[in-house]
Amino acid sequence: MNSRKVYVDVEVTHRKDGSARPNTITFEDEGKFEIDRVLQICRAASTKVGGTGIRYTVLISGKQAYLFDEENGRWFVEAKNRGNGN
């Protein structure tokens, strides 16, 4: 499999209307990344790494990624396996 589930630290703005806007994610040892835009929010399953939640389609440095809120306080992303063949 070439994807893995990585739980991340997220800074989120919870608005008074109940909606949420993730602002940054901190990905393993690679530091903090700004989320430039949220393109779509829907409930979805991750077909790549398993699990479900509220899926934020986000734009980080021009690249599109999925950020999942498991609604239990934990957030994860679908990360590519690092290039050592596993």
Binding site: M1, A44, A45, T47, G50, T52
Partner: protein, 411 residues
């Protein structure tokens, strides 16, 4: 107006949830099995890859591994199953408030009259199927028909991830050739009766004179005849409907076989603690008590008795249950599991005829005492106060998440 009923069945539910949460399992034959140490070591669910090796629900773990040497055995995660069952029901509720669960993984939906809003029942079924797959990563099979029994039958015909429609105009051609056992309500015992009298298919059943069916099977026979002819008129309950409680029971498989009456007494006492509490929280009193005893060959026997006066007191239920046990069980074999049930329930404030020979004052005092114990437990935790004898309770398995099992549609 013709009704539009859907029956949604989540395919291989437990196993599918496990494979969805851990995609690395997808390529392997997987069985969700109870714990061998706690003596629940049987297959609870399996995926299609395991099914191909003829692994069956109910197989012992060693049996299943014998059939399928590469079988991946995973323990059940009930909290996840409860979560995904709830999420699926939330999706169903987008289309109708009539969502009636039948166990954790099945639901009936009544979508009659919503065509202008959501499209034909078949379109709704298809959309539900796609939504569950997209949002939850699970597959369902949906039966669409004009009554609940055929909708359920339909959801069994094509799996997984499929929709089957059984129409009023064509159900005879579609399902009359199927075996009678496929019909909801025809279990192994009824099936045996049917075979004895030459009823093999649903069509045979539908064309049998209902008077004969009644004489063989009582009113249930006539009910099944109506089902086979498409005359099931039962309604789909609204989603917040709570069926009236008919009994309150609690049972366990002990961690080691029970061999003496004293051991059985501690188990019964432990079980009735929860029953008393449940009766009080539902405002019910029991007029009878039933016990189910399963021995170590898995043979189950059950007995019941009436109580002199209605009660909520755990200790009275325990004593009556134990008395019943002592009188009836012959100790031919050690015991593997014990269930106690409070039956013939009535509202706690219903008047009853007092007997001259019962000390009602003492009884009331006992019930007050138990209510006080309830209160202490509520404030300080379940194990903050208990009978001394239960401190030895070495036979009880660890506590688990509680699950509501399907109530029968046919009563």
């Amino acid at each position: 107006m013709e009704r539009a009923i859907l029956h949604c069945d989540m395919n291989n539910f437990y196993a599918s949830v496990e494979c969805m949460l851990d995609p690395s399992l997808r390529e392997c034959p997987v069985a969700v099995c109870g714990s061998v140490e706690e003596r629940h070591g049987i297959v609870l669910a399996k995926n299609y890859k395991a099914k191909a090796y003829r692994v069956q629900t109910g197989d012992a773990v060693w049996q299943a591994k014998e059939k399928c040497p590469g079988l991946v055995v995973v323990p059940p995660h009930y909290e996840e199953y409860i979560k995904y069952s709830r999420l699926a029901r939330e999706i169903y509720s987008r289309y109708t408030e009539q969502v009636e669960p039948y166990g954790m993984d099945e639901c009936w939906l009544d979508v009659s009259g919503t065509e202008a809003l959501f499209g034909t029942p078949e379109e709704i079924a298809d959309r539900l199927r796609a939504t569950i797959k997209f949002e939850l990563g699970l597959t369902i099979s949906v039966g669409v028909s004009f009554n609940k029994v055929f909708a359920k039958l339909g959801s069994d015909l094509k799996k997984p991830d499929a929709v089957t429609v059984i129409r009023k105009e064509s159900f005879r051609d579609q399902i009359w050739k199927l075996p009678a056992e496929d019909l909801l309500g025809v279990g192994p015992a009824t099936g045996r009766v049917f075979h004895r009298v030459g009823i093999h298919t649903i069509g045979d059943l539908a064309q049998t004179d209902p008077r004969y069916l009644r004489s063989w099977l009582g009113k249930n026979g006539e009910l099944l005849w109506r089902f086979a002819n498409g005359n099931d008129l039962s309604l789909v309950a609204k989603k917040d409907f709570i069926p009236p409680i008919k009994s309150v029971g609690h049972g366990i498989t002990t961690v080691a076989d029970l061999e003496t009456p004293e051991q059985v007494w501690t188990v019964i006492l432990e079980l009735t603690q929860d029953i008393g509490h449940k009766l009080r929280s539902h405002g019910l009193s029991a007029r009878g008590v039933a016990i189910h005893i399963r021995d170590n060959t898995l043979e189950t026997r059950q007995w019941q008795t009436q109580l002199g006066i209605p009660t909520q007191a755990s200790v009275i239920l325990a004593r009556s249950a134990f008395e019943l046990f002592r009188k009836t069980y012959s100790w031919r074999r050690p015991i593997r599991s014990v269930t106690v049930q409070a039956i013939s329930l009535i509202p706690q404030d219903m008047p009853w005829q007092a007997s001259l020979f019962v000390d009602t004052e003492k009884l009331e005092k006992l019930e007050r005492l138990e209510r006080c114990v309830d209160d202490i437990r509520r404030r300080f935790g379940k194990n903050s106060i208990r009978q001394g004898i239960l401190l030895r309770g070495a036979y009880m398995p660890p506590e688990k998440a509680e699950i509501t099992m399907p109530a029968g549609m046919i009563h």
